[in-house]
Symmetry: C2
């Protein structure tokens, strides 16, 4: 199997991994055990990967990190909005 396919599958998995957390949090509105610092640090790292991907002109890195940034930003908004629930 071509190693780039391994990289692609890895990118899809580490990006889509956040989807079940978004679905669960949206449904339960329970954010108690989620760590705000984790999602802040994750978002800054993902945005930096986006800069890196744009700089080296890699569509895969840009796409994966755009999606991840969206999902992580959503979780951050849930953590902030639902914390006082």
């Amino acid at each position: 199997m071509n190693i780039e396919i391994i990289g692609l599958i890895a990118a899809v998995l580490t990006t889509s991994a956040f989807i079940p957390q978004v679905v669960k949090t949206k449904k339960t509105k329970d954010v108690e055990s989620l760590s705000l610092p984790m999602y802040l640090v994750m978002l800054s790292g993902v945005l930096l990967w986006l800069v890196y991907g744009i700089y080296i002109n890699s569509a895969a890195i840009i796409l994966a990190n755009l999606l991840t940034a969206g999902l992580v930003a959503l979780l951050l908004s849930y953590k902030i909005r639902f914390t006082n629930k």
Copy 2:
């Protein structure tokens, strides 16, 4: 600034982002709002990145994903152990 430094900082951030979640979960033992599928999918993606890094002989990708795999595996063990708490 050299773009590889941006990539390195991004890798450090997206790896270390899991540390605050490990610390919080270890302290509170509250795993209710954590999504088990998220950490299962994340771990499989990170392990694939590890295979990718070994294959292309990239120390940075190997190191970042070894650390991330350790942190994610720890969170998975907490989610399984503390769920019936």
